[in-house]
């Protein structure tokens, strides 16, 4: 710590801080336009000028000057105020000063400082800027006439997002922010630039002319898309969520969001939301009353084991726990699951046998504390963009080594020093086994590993997985596999990350055990910056596992429930929020199964493809309309409160299950808080938690690890002559099938596509946007072609989110599907 004097106050600050940070830490405000606490100091705006006695009263920028012992700083002398006033005059010289029609008004740093410094006249005259406004994309408007050239947008796009869409172009008075060759903005539209813009140069178009900043009610919440657990501030007016607001102090991610979090909120107030319960009468869904609908549901639930349930892991912990309780105690069925079963098997089977727990023994915060990251599949960026930002920052700012094992290249491969091994699809487990074998052979095993149960067996069983043998089947070089294993073992702290989800069938229990083996063999778990982070797909996927909402004790898992529906063993199927018709493997089979069920009940926000087949449809609530808790992928339990009132005809799933329990003769808990009290008493790691104790940041549920070494089975994928290997996955702009109802994501990525390598495209005479018929043994589907440089030859990729042309018509749940293409 360093002692210094700021405006006659004796203060202390960390040695590494700047004058600006030291002042902020001690409650002294220095005005600034170009600073954000996530970005490196830049010193562009000259608003933070201060005087330092030791520097002979020169005016120096507080944001770039480090503190020194005994420094005497004055932040508001008459000279300083005069200088700042002039800076503002110069900034306003070319600025259009069109505050009445600017959406930033009220939240604009330039406007606020102009007011604070009473700049009511300008001594200078000059022409205003005449830059063309970029209206070319539906999400971000760029008006460079209002720009003060603080560079925050260009810096956040480089330092955190690592996309680099914006930069300073030209020089001198001509300088402006723009894209290459004056192009229109065409990026991943995370809106980070919008969030940090201190003026109205970068605006969220969906929010334009919707409300003045000061008329918005701000409510904290937790994002309802992926498992990262980002915190949100919703801007609300007239009971509508109109925007997401930026708060640089919110959450571990400091307000940083991805395109889904920032622009995907419109589904909450979508006019496609269900407004009343519906019953199928004479073959058509017709509106009914809650009483009638719930009575019919309750009657059909009295079927014991012939009743099954599927729930989306977007429900709260309270709802999932109550749903389970209803199924077990009131219905008398063990048949319930989420995410088709296989999508959570990495946690519920893999980690359970390898780590003795069904949660990841690592947190997102470990990324920055690690020395080396091993990422399985570049898709980790697309599935969890904010975790991707953490990886970007770690690699760029902390020189963390990044190794990637993937079946295609991706954005992460472009990070400085990133080493990507592109292998044949489906050979991950074999490669990870070969890495374990290489670690054993090269005697890089940690001393603690020998005493772990299963060690001797694993050593024996790994004999077949020599890097040379695996190299042949995976398309890698044996030396590369050995080097990858060597660098992982050599790193003092190393973290393995891999995404799971319904699109990643290969990321199952076997893969989880394979990565767990590496961590256990090298002793890289249960330590800061080490471990394995299994990135769960949905916002409460980890919670659904923690609540035990999956097949156990002989109950049927998701896929078996579908089979049982088709076979007639399941007569009533209650689906809460899942959309199996689109997101489960094998469209034809699921459709037949759902059609065969006597009573199909769907509770959802929208009339999804699945809900359209139902006999009873119940309108449910979004995360913004209910109370409860979500557990993020690294087991941070966070509390949400209703941000808006739900519409009169909707009930939260909690209310639906409560009403049904009453009808079935049980006693439901009084409210979500009461249910949470039950959860905290019964769930390992949740002990002692209450809504009060969770606070605004949430609380980590501790993960206790009991390691065991298990040989994971690796299935060999045989490529067929003349076929391409199709891998499916998530695309950056979407999460599950819910984001189809968010306008933002649909503006950027409205439909499915088939990504294909340049060489394959050339061979098959396919160019960008060509409609291509993709055929597998299960069926065929028409997709638009997208020719990219990231796909290896012989491999094609398709995202799975879309109801129009669903990819599950050609995909039956295999990690790799052989397909042929026809134009």
């Amino acid at each position: 710590m360093v002692n210094l004097t700021i405006d006659d106050n004796q203060v202390t600050a960390p040695k590494s801080s700047t004058i600006y940070e030291a002042a902020k830490l001690n409650g002294i405000k220095i005005p600034i336009l170009c600073h954000d606490n996530k970005l490196k100091p830049f010193g562009a705006c000259r608003m933070c000028l201060v005087e330092v006695e030791q520097m002979k009263g020169r005016q120096i920028p507080a944001c770039t000057t480090p503190v020194t012992e005994g420094m005497i700083v004055r932040t508001a002398t008459p000279d300083i105020v005069k200088a700042r006033k002039m800076v503002l005059e110069l900034l306003l010289l070319n600025h259009p000063i069109d505050c009445p029609v600017c959406d930033k008004a009220g939240d604009c740093d330039l406007q606020n400082l102009t007011y604070e410094y009473k700049v009511n006249a300008n001594r200078f005259t000059d022409e205003k800027f005449h830059h063309k406004i970029d209206y070319n994309n539906p999400l971000i408007e760029r008006d460079m006439n209002r720009c003060v050239l603080c560079g925050k947008c260009a810096r956040i796009c480089d330092e955190i997002v690592s996309f680099g869409a914006l930069t300073f172009i030209d020089r001198g008075i001509e300088t402006k922010i723009g894209c290459e060759f004056e192009d229109a903005l065409n990026c991943e539209f995370c809106g980070s630039c919008v969030s940090v813009c201190p003026v109205g140069s970068l605006l969220a178009r969906p929010f334009k002319f919707k409300a003045r900043f000061w008329s918005l009610t701000k409510r904290k919440s937790v994002c309802g898309y992926c498992g990262t657990g980002c915190n949100l501030t919703l801007g609300i007016k007239d009971n509508k969520v109109l925007t997401t607001l930026y708060d640089e102090n919110q959450g571990f991610h400091k307000g940083q969001l991805c395109v889904r979090g920032r622009f995907g909120y419109q589904f909450i107030n979508s006019n496609k939301r269900l407004t009343a319960p519906m019953l199928r009468k004479e073959g058509r869904l017709t509106e009914s009353t809650w009483e009638e609908a719930l009575q019919i549901v309750a009657d059909h639930l009295k079927g014991g084991n012939s009743v099954a349930a599927l729930a989306t892991p977007r429900l709260t912990n309270e709802e999932l726990a109550l749903f389970k309780k209803m199924m077990v105690e009131n219905v008398g069925s063990k048949n319930f699951d989420h995410s088709a079963g296989y999508a959570h098997s990495a946690l519920t089977e893999g980690f359970v046998r390898s780590f003795g727990t069904s949660a990841s023994p690592a947190s997102i915060l470990d990324i920055q504390k690690s020395d080396l990251l091993l990422v399985i599949k570049t898709d980790a960026y697309e599935t969890h963009p904010v975790i991707g930002f953490e990886i970007n920052m770690g690699v760029k700012n902390r020189d963390i080594k990044l190794n990637i094992l993937s079946d295609k290249r991706g954005k992460l491969s472009k990070l400085p020093g990133a080493k990507t091994l592109v292998h044949r699809p489906g050979s991950e487990v074999a490669i990870l086994n070969a890495m374990a074998k290489s670690i054993l052979d090269d005697k890089l095993v940690d001393a603690s590993a020998a005493s772990v149960p299963g060690f001797a067996e694993l050593v024996k069983e790994l004999a077949a997985f020599t890097p040379e043998a695996v190299a042949a089947q995976s398309g890698l070089k044996a030396a590369d596999i050995k080097q990858l294993a060597g660098s992982y073992a050599a790193a003092e702290k190393a973290l393995i990350l891999f995404p799971i989800g319904q699109a990643y069938a290969g990321h199952n229990a076997e893969l989880a055990s394979a990565v767990a083996n590496l961590a256990i063999l090298t002793g890289k778990f249960d330590k800061e910056g080490c471990g394995v982070l299994c990135m769960a797909e949905k916002n409460n996927s980890q919670g659904a596992v923690d609540m035990g909402f999956y097949a156990q004790n002989g109950g049927m898992d998701g896929l078996r429930i579908i089979d049982a529906c088709a076979a007639g063993a399941v007569k009533t199927l209650f689906i809460a929020g899942e959309n199996p018709l689109i997101s489960y493997p094998n469209h034809t089979k699921v459709k037949a199964a759902l059609g065969a069920v006597e009573c199909l009940i769907v509770a959802d926000l929208f009339l999804t493809e699945t809900a359209a087949m139902a006999d009873v449809v119940l309108p449910a609530c979004s995360f913004a309309e209910k109370e409860g808790t979500f557990t993020s992928t690294d087991r941070r339990v966070q509390h949400i409160e209703p941000a808006i009132r739900k519409s009169a005809q909707c009930k939260s799933d909690f209310e639906i299950f409560s009403a049904l329990i009453t009808k079935l003769g049980g006693t439901p808990p009084a409210n979500p808080a009461a249910q949470f009290a039950e959860i905290s008493a019964a769930t390992p790691g949740y002990a002692g938690m209450s809504y009060l104790s969770l606070g605004s940041e949430g609380v980590f549920a501790p993960v206790a690890v009991t390691p065991a070494l298990v040989l994971p089975k690796s299935a060999a994928v045989v490529a067929e002559e003349g076929s391409l290997s199709l891998v499916i996955g998530s695309v950056l702009y979407h999460s599950g099938t819910l984001s189809q109802y968010g306008e933002g994501p649909m503006h950027v990525c409205p439909e499915g596509y088939l990504e294909i390598s340049r060489k394959d495209a050339l061979l098959k005479n396919i160019t960008d946007n060509d409609p291509v018929t993709v055929t597998s043994s299960a069926g065929s589907v028409k997709l638009k072609a997208k020719v990219t440089s990231r796909m290896p030859d012989g491999v094609v990729f398709a995202p799975y989110h879309f109801g129009a042309a669903p990819v599950n018509t050609i995909w039956s749940g295999a990690a790799v599907t052989m397909v042929t293409l026809a134009k």
Binding site: A165, L166, E180
Partner: protein
């Protein structure tokens, strides 16, 4: 750099042989801070920096395309559209100005039918006004590529144009 310039480069983009750019990139690929030498080397080969080549450099050097454009527009030495075979530069610095440089400039404009920083449609001439060529003793001064012409007069403008109009383009 105006919108018009960017549009123009896009419109008249001819077929470009990227292997020439590759040979320049290969020379510098492992050197830190290689962007400037690569851009300079590429400009020497093509005479300007075509957009396709800028995008190719971005991909090969793993630099954002926007960042390359930032560098290209910051330095006056880089050109984004094709340049003439003969670059005529007339000094308009103080000494040359006093000695009548404005008339020399006007004469070039009239005879070549192109303005400042413009290129004749046949890609023979590019004309530029420059601040100082560092030979004030020879004012008013003009240069064509590397040849210097001191004590410029209106007659000498004619001579220079007819001389260079007859030279071969290849």
């Amino acid at each position: 750099m105006s919108d018009a310039v960017a549009q123009q480069t896009e419109e008249q983009e001819p077929v470009i042989d990227l292997s020439i750019a590759d040979s320049v990139i290969d020379k510098y690929i492992d050197i830190p801070g290689n962007l400037m030498p690569v851009l300079q080397g590429v400009q020497d080969e093509y005479g300007y920096i075509p957009r396709m080549v800028a995008d190719h450099i971005a991909e090969r050097l793993n630099v954002y395309p926007s960042q390359i454009y930032g560098v290209l527009t910051f330095y006056a030495q880089f050109h984004l559209k094709p340049r003439g075979k003969f670059i005529i530069r007339v000094c308009v610095g103080t000494a040359c100005h006093v000695q009548g440089a404005p008339r020399i400039v006007e004469t070039f404009f009239d005879k070549l039918h192109i303005g400042h920083a413009e290129t004749s449609p046949d890609l023979r001439f590019t004309f530029e006004k420059v601040a100082c060529l560092g030979a004030c003793g020879m004012a008013p001064l003009a240069m064509v590529n590397d040849s210097t012409y001191g004590g410029m007069t209106v007659q000498k403008v004619d001579e220079i144009i007819s001389d260079y109009s007859q030279r071969p383009m290849k």
